[in-house]
């Protein structure tokens, strides 16, 4: 590679840093939505680089469903402390108690959709005008249509048919009072890019991503972990398997994959030969053909 060329990872990195700085410059009260998952961990690394030697100039905000893996929560708290970053946590449980959100019926209620209520309430309460998220266009077909700077109206809604065109590197973050933006610096990254970047940067991750033995139950082809949020159906039983998680969301809707990949190199090998998308293990996307679009229109991540 000649001296004035950049690798694809470097180009993605410089682009993401540029976007983060645009957010810091164009908005008054930005926040970084942090889940403890690998994409948001990469976002934190990029934010560190964008503003060094200053600290990250916005808080990390986690919308906690109460159904998270303890490993993810532990990692979240460690990282925030390690960086000296401000961590704000808001709980779906509180929205349910306040009557603002209603728990789903059934044996295994998912709180995935309820996060939208808590998220929008938090944005209003904390007066955020831009929320940085780690969503990528390669994850899902509705996300393939997302902008870097994605406008949300005063109800937090996305209007996919009426988005602002984004040309060159010119991002229009103008808005009226009460509206906000969701900003996605990793838009052009793929799952593989994220793993390669984690490897290149030697970024620590929660142990969930690496192969380990765990009690799981097979439901509709997905391996769900034994957690207090899952109730076994008649005929189901837990068994021990060697698994890892490709994506980490709520324990109720994130399936594990059987895998012996215990190092980043092995994970990259596995991603390269994977024949299922990363979100193929996410039950929340499978509820209908446009499940993601419908949730996003309502204000989801």
């Amino acid at each position: 590679m000649s001296s004035y060329n950049l690798t694809h990872l470097a180009q993605l990195e410089h682009e993401a840093i540029f976007i983060m700085r645009e957010v810091a410059a164009q908005f008054e009260r930005p926040a970084l939505l942090f889940s403890g998952g690998k994409d948001s961990i990469v976002m934190v690394r990029l934010a560190q680089k964008a503003f060094a030697p200053s600290k990250i100039p916005f808080p990390l905000v986690h919308i906690d469903t109460g159904h998270n893996f303890p490993e993810a929560i532990g990692f979240r708290d460690w990282l925030a402390k390690d960086l000296g970053a401000r961590l704000i946590v808001r709980y779906v449980e509180d929205s349910i108690k306040a009557g603002r959100a209603v728990e789903e019926k059934g044996l295994n209620p998912s709180r995935n959709g309820l996060q939208t209520v808590t998220l929008l309430d938090s944005i209003e309460e904390l007066k955020f005008d831009a929320c940085l998220g780690g969503a990528r266009r390669d994850e899902e077909k509705a996300r393939a249509k997302e902008r870097f700077f994605s406008h949300r109206d005063e109800f937090g809604q996305w209007d996919p048919k009426n988005q602002r065109p984004e040309l060159w590197n010119l991002f229009n973050g103008r808005k009226n009072h009460g509206e906000h933006f969701r900003v996605f610096p990793l838009s052009n990254w793929t799952e593989m890019d994220v793993w390669q970047y984690i490897t290149r940067e030697k970024i620590p991750l929660p142990p969930l991503y690496f192969s380990h033995e765990r009690e799981v139950v097979n439901r509709n082809g997905n391996w769900l972990a034994n957690t207090p949020f899952i109730t076994l159906l008649p005929g189901e039983k837990y068994e021990k398997r060697i698994i890892r998680f490709r994506t980490v969301g709520d324990a109720t809707c994130t399936g594990a994959v059987e895998s012996t990949a215990s190092t980043l190199g092995e994970i990259i090998q596995e991603v390269a030969s994977a024949r299922q998308t990363e979100r193929g293990t996410r039950a929340d996307d499978k509820r209908s053909e446009t499940a993601m679009e419908d949730r996003k229109k309502a204000g989801y991540f």
């Binding site: 690798t7 180009q11 410059a25 680089k49 077909k141 040309l167 010119l170 229009n172 299922q276």
Partner: protein, 444 residues
Amino acid sequence: MSTSASDTHYLSMDLLRFTTAGSVDDGKSTLIGRLLYDSKAIFEDQLDAIERATEQRGEEHLNLSLLTDGLRAEREQGITIDVAYRYFATPKRKFIIADTPGHIQYTRNMVTGASTANLAIILIDARKGVIEQTCRHSFIASLLRIPHLVVCVNKMDLVDFKQEVFDEIVEKYSEFASRMEIADVKFIPISALHGDNVVDKSERMPWYKGASLLYTLETVYIGSDANHVDPRFPVQTVIRPNSTEHHDFRGFAGRVAGGVFKVGDEVLALPSGFASRIKSLHSSDGDVQEVFSPMSATITLEDEIDISRGDMLVKPHNSPHISQDVEAMICWFSDKKIQPNGKYIVRHTTKEVRAVVKTIRYKVDINTLHKIEANPEIGMNDIGRIHLRTASPLFFDGYRRNRNTGSLILIDESTNATVGAGMILWPDLTETKLPSQFVEMGGL
């Protein structure tokens, strides 16, 4: 071909952004589908989902457009509303495809996709040859100065893979393209449906001596696409840690929009005109000796000078044009026509200023490329030339010299919508003082 990542090969992969232009029937979705499928960027669960959806619609062939048409309205109406971005990689390169729809909001979408592209694929149906739409696509590619163009003559299987058909299209296209400025054009006869010359060389067209499409995409030289000649650093934000450890640190954060900056270089701050030297450079890998376009960096200077967002660092003997009067080709995205004397917000590099449209010079008929100079009106999806006067000076280069410092967008103040995209023309010699080395640059 595979995306095998057994070693560290990915540390030497580069990135090609390309756009595809075409309409419903020219096989664009099939071509993209094939590139994605053959590079293993389509997964089994995606394929299952498409198969289910295709079956439900009672369609016969696997409808690969369902891969990119992600929105409910698009799937219902069977049309593409918006630019869709798709990704794939080979061991040599990562690719970003901006897939732009051929009909609705056509100009807006293609201009958007083209604005960041290194390369455009233009599809021609071998049975139809060069049609009006081919001209429109090519004009926009030329206007947006996409450095490389690949004309794929598709559906060669339907013309019995005849060389005469291909040669005739090449000749017609070349004749027409000579009226525009297109730097690098390649022609490839393909059959997207059967895969001829897409990934591998076709045995059914032995007369074609060139490379397959994928090989072309993997090897086209993009190292000179960015400007590494004219140093330009628009300041995004100022970094001041206010900590004991970095008490005096004052860094100017931005993305190099052109050229190269090195530690020790003399720089000039615009608009103040104050000179200083680069004390240190910081990039994603920490302290570095030089940075170049398109790197994000933080620059500290030897002297304390007042610099803020919207200012620009340049080199003393290579200044951009500084003016409140800007001539630009404009693509319009709003159903409200451009108002003569209308006021808009201009966003150019990191600067935002108010501006007024002083004159609408002409509109381009994008089918004939003729200029319409009598009472030109520029409405939705039109392209034309305007004269803008800004409330404070912009620091710009001609778009043909630098896409970063030569581009701007117009924003409607009442709706905050992005209503126009502009490509700045280097001003006429009569209007300005121009360094002699730029004389040959001429207009757009």
